[in-house]
Symmetry: C2
Subunit: 291 residues, 2 copies
């Protein structure tokens, strides 16, 4: 192709992508736009207080109002911020929305000639047998049938792609977490990636539900017995696509509730915010260490 | 349950939902937040110029700046506007994101005691054998294996739910479209719902691609031969969930390109806007007729 339009990012190859994005070394993503802007601001603060602040200041993209610039705003799909060597971007909800973002991000990093980039998903999730607020570092990812694969129908055929994380990165994050002062638990475990929030996660509070509370609890206990510590909606696609393209990646999620105790997410705003910061703190510590 | 929190909408049953939302009769949704705000403004303009403007004016939710209010802003997931009897909301990309919205919308309509609500998806899509800018009214929806079902893994088992549209609604929309003055084509046809934008849609411009242009064209021709006129990423879930819960629904999409001619979406901004307005015009005509 003479030109490639990354349609959902509002970026194309007509500009000098190595010049603008060639310094990227860390990509952080999560579901909601607000959370990823908050993370971008924490990174900005970190860089501006580092000994190399002078190097970074011109590598942070700002808008006319002197705020962090959403570089994908024109596409109206994702919010992406460039803060020196860090990209912070929201992926929306579910594997499909994440998949589009990853295809276009991976092309962007390729065109920009970035090397040894590490990708993180910092998310929210439902916990299984862990206290609300616990942080889970995923060491494997499965679908609702407990297959550790991302399944796609391509050219009329079913493809199973292994959903495997980089073991050394998981180890390093666990080590870093153990070194941090914190008043919450961090565990590593298997993450189930569900294709919806209600039925495929065995919730009984959706608009459609054809099973009772006893079947639900039996199913959730079966998941616990199979090593699953949390449920979210992106893990298999994230692990599989990064592995396929040779990018080291990890998922760190806070749990908003223990699903063995209920289905409803109704933690108050300040508690929710304190939970959401936990994965951000860990990834920020990783970035700080490797800057 | 004594209380139900619609977590992703930032609405709960502690307030008087029949009073606030009981007048809803039409729900319009689409992928991007900007497009659904634009549609909300068109509806607002329509209502304010109708003979019953006085009835509607207090039923339009505005914020402190006297702009249409995003009633789900606090959740940070979807943008939803209430304009008299119309809800306009964005569903993000992919069946998973749409599914969460539908569960919570259907519960909202139930709690608010709404009756005979009609739901529309007004989207963008890739066309198959039709001129760019053509409007497609979906008369059936299939997945990438050409099964007219929405498939979900619930409690460890695979479920196939028929993805069927209300025939009379499709007929009425086609009739209405034929009565409109327009300089573009409108067709009815089968819509393929893909789980990603690249590989499952047979694109060759993604970050991962294991087939060539000849296989791609053969596959796309096979889709055309099976009645498929456009490809998007939400149709099976939308048709299936609405049918399951007894809600009449339809999908009207503009096509941004003819996939037999290429993969890249690089229409210019004004052309894109003129395309996106087409499904909005049709749904607005339907609402006007039934107000």
């Amino acid at each position: 192709m003479t030109q490639d339009t990354l349609y959902h990012l509002a970026i194309d190859t007509n500009e000098d992508l190595p010049k603008r994005f060639g310094d990227i070394r860390f990509v952080a993503m999560g579901g909601s736009a607000g959370r990823m802007l908050a993370f971008a601001k924490r990174v900005q603060n970190e860089l501006m207080n580092s000994p190399k602040a002078n190097e970074y200041i011109d590598r942070i993209e700002m808008n006319e109002l002197n705020e962090l610039k959403n570089v994908s705003e024109k596409a109206g799909r994702y919010c992406m911020y460039k803060i020196g060597p860090v990209l912070s971007v929201n992926h929306g909800m579910g594997v499909s929305s994440l998949n589009i973002l990853l295809h276009e991000l991976i092309k962007l990093l390729h065109y920009a000639k970035c090397r040894n980039v590490v990708m993180f998903r910092i998310g929210t999730s439902g916990g299984l047998g862990v206290e609300p607020g616990t942080v889970v570092i995923s060491d494997s990812a499965c679908d609702e049938l407990l297959d550790d694969y991302y399944k796609l129908n391509i050219m009329g055929e079913r493809h199973w792609r292994p959903a495997i994380f980089d073991r050394s990165l998981v180890d390093e994050l666990e080590q870093l977490s153990n070194e941090m002062k914190r008043n919450y638990h961090t565990v590593r475990g298997r993450t189930m990636c569900a294709s919806d929030f209600y039925e495929t996660q065995s919730r009984i509070d959706g608009a459609i539900c054809n099973y009772g509370i006893n079947e639900k609890i039996a199913r959730l206990r079966h998941l616990v017995d199979n090593g699953i510590r949390n449920i979210e909606m992106e893990a298999t696609a994230f692990a599989s696509m990064c592995r396929y393209t040779g990018i080291r990646c990890a998922i760190v999620c806070c749990t908003l509730l223990n699903r063995l105790d209920g289905d409803q997410v109704n933690v108050d705003k300040s508690t929710l915010e304190s939970y959401q910061i936990r994965p951000q703190e860990l990834i920020l510590a990783y970035i700080r260490k490797h800057l």
